[in-house]
């Protein structure tokens, strides 16, 4: 009884609703849709797989970065501090190298000065050679006068010393000898008197 009433009500409502709107479904449209869907599946499936792989790669890469943002900031600040310290160290090392270089240059200069100091003065050396030559001439003249009685040769040699080396003390010695010879000539021969003269400063 109730079932019939329900059925009746439903059929009344269905009739009231009427037929559905006209459908313009055609087999050709369905085939086109099927073709498009197949195309989309063919394209979408690889694209979806690629997207998933890309997404997974991004996640893996992100996960591989263990640092949190705060840690990263700390690391960045530490890196900056390290760079700063490294720059300071480089500056100090440069300074030390400059100081060492200056010291090396000073040592080299001192060595050069010492070497230079060890080289004799050529003027003094020439003076010394001149003095030595004058001495040798006076010595030879003394020997000629005292030992060989060659007074003329000795006088000539003393005169040569006075003439050639007038600034030396041996020129003065040569003058003294010439004065001695002049004083002795008239009175006594130089070989007499028993004492033999020896040149000084030899």
């Amino acid at each position: 009884m109730t079932e019939d009433k329900i059925k009746n009500l439903l059929q009344v409502a269905d009739r009231a609703a009427g037929e559905p709107g006209p459908t313009h479904i055609s087999a050709a449209a369905i085939r086109r849709h099927a073709g498009h869907r197949q195309l989309i599946i063919n394209i979408a499936a690889p694209a979806a797989i690629a997207a998933i792989l890309l997404f997974a790669s991004i996640i893996v890469i992100q996960a591989a970065r263990p640092h949190k943002p705060s840690e990263q900031k700390q690391i960045v600040s530490l890196q900056q501090e390290l760079k700063h310290l490294q720059a300071e160290t480089d500056a100090v090392l440069n300074l030390v190298q400059q100081v060492l270089e200056e010291e090396r240059q000073t040592e080299r200069l001192n060595d050069l000065q010492a070497t230079l100091a060890s080289i004799p003065d050529p003027i003094e050396e020439a003076q010394r050679q001149v003095d030595k030559t004058a001495f040798v001439l006076v010595y030879q003249a003394d020997r000629l006068y005292r030992q060989s009685n060659q007074t003329d040769s000795a006088v000539h040699a003393y005169n040569q010393v006075i003439k050639l080396f007038p600034q030396t003390r041996w020129a003065e010695v040569a003058r003294q000898r010439l004065t001695e010879i002049e004083n002795r000539k008239p009175n006594e021969p130089h070989s007499q008197g028993g004492q033999r003269w020896k040149p000084r400063n030899v």
């Binding site: 109730t2 079932e3 009433k5 329900i6 059925k7 009500l9 439903l10 059929q11 009344v12 409502a13 269905d14 009739r15 009231a16 609703a17 009427g18 037929e19 559905p20 709107g21 459908t23 313009h24 479904i25 055609s26 087999a27 050709a28 449209a29 369905i30 085939r31 849709h33 099927a34 869907r37």
Partner: protein
């Protein structure tokens, strides 16, 4: 030759590559499928999308059709599944856009106003049917509106005879409560 025999021939022709067979299937069943979809979805009036989905699925799966049931039952099964999907999508849309509900009701109301029969009764029944879940609404539609035999309903819905009777009883009870004043 019987109707089922004709359908079997069409299916065989389609399987052998004769696409005109599918044209004939569409022409023959599109109206029936549209009516069923309209009833299952609560008489929205416009069911072209659902019908298109049904035939799209049929076109894709017809080569796998084994002929265990009639082509009509097979298409009705697809229609029921497509209507479930459609309702599910509608439900999601309603959840996302609450305005869609008003639009839906106004559209239905408009359709009802165009009918000469008492729109009040139609609206009450439509609302009552809407409160039924698909598992109870489908047997009701197939039994009282499509007037299919129980055996075919069981095959379409994949239910046993007992399960079908249980669902029908529960559905009737629900409608009786909702439409008490109209029934009495």
């Amino acid at each position: 030759m019987t109707r089922t025999g004709d359908d079997q021939i069409l299916v065989e022709q389609f399987k052998q590559g004769d696409e005109s067979a599918f044209d004939k299937i569409v022409k023959e069943f599109s109206a029936n499928i549209a009516v069923l979809a309209n009833r299952l979805l609560g008489w929205p009036g416009e069911v072209e999308d659902v019908v298109q989905d049904v035939f799209l699925a049929a076109f894709t799966g017809l080569k796998r059709f084994r002929g265990d049931c009639s082509l009509k039952s097979w298409l009705f099964t697809i229609t029921i599944n497509k209507c479930r999907s459609y309702r599910y999508r509608q439900m999601l849309r309603l959840k996302i856009f609450s305005r869609a509900a008003d639009k839906d009701s106004s559209l239905s109301a408009c359709a009802a106003d165009q009918r000469p029969i008492d729109s009040e009764i139609f609206e009450r029944v439509r609302r009552a049917m809407k409160t039924l879940s698909p598992k109870y609404r489908e047997p009701i539609v197939l039994r009282y509106l499509q007037e299919l035999p129980n055996e075919q309903i069981c095959r379409i819905l994949g239910l046993s005879e007992n399960a079908l009777q249980v669902r029908l009883n529960r559905a009737r009870k629900h409608l009786q409560e909702k439409l008490k004043d109209l029934i009495e």
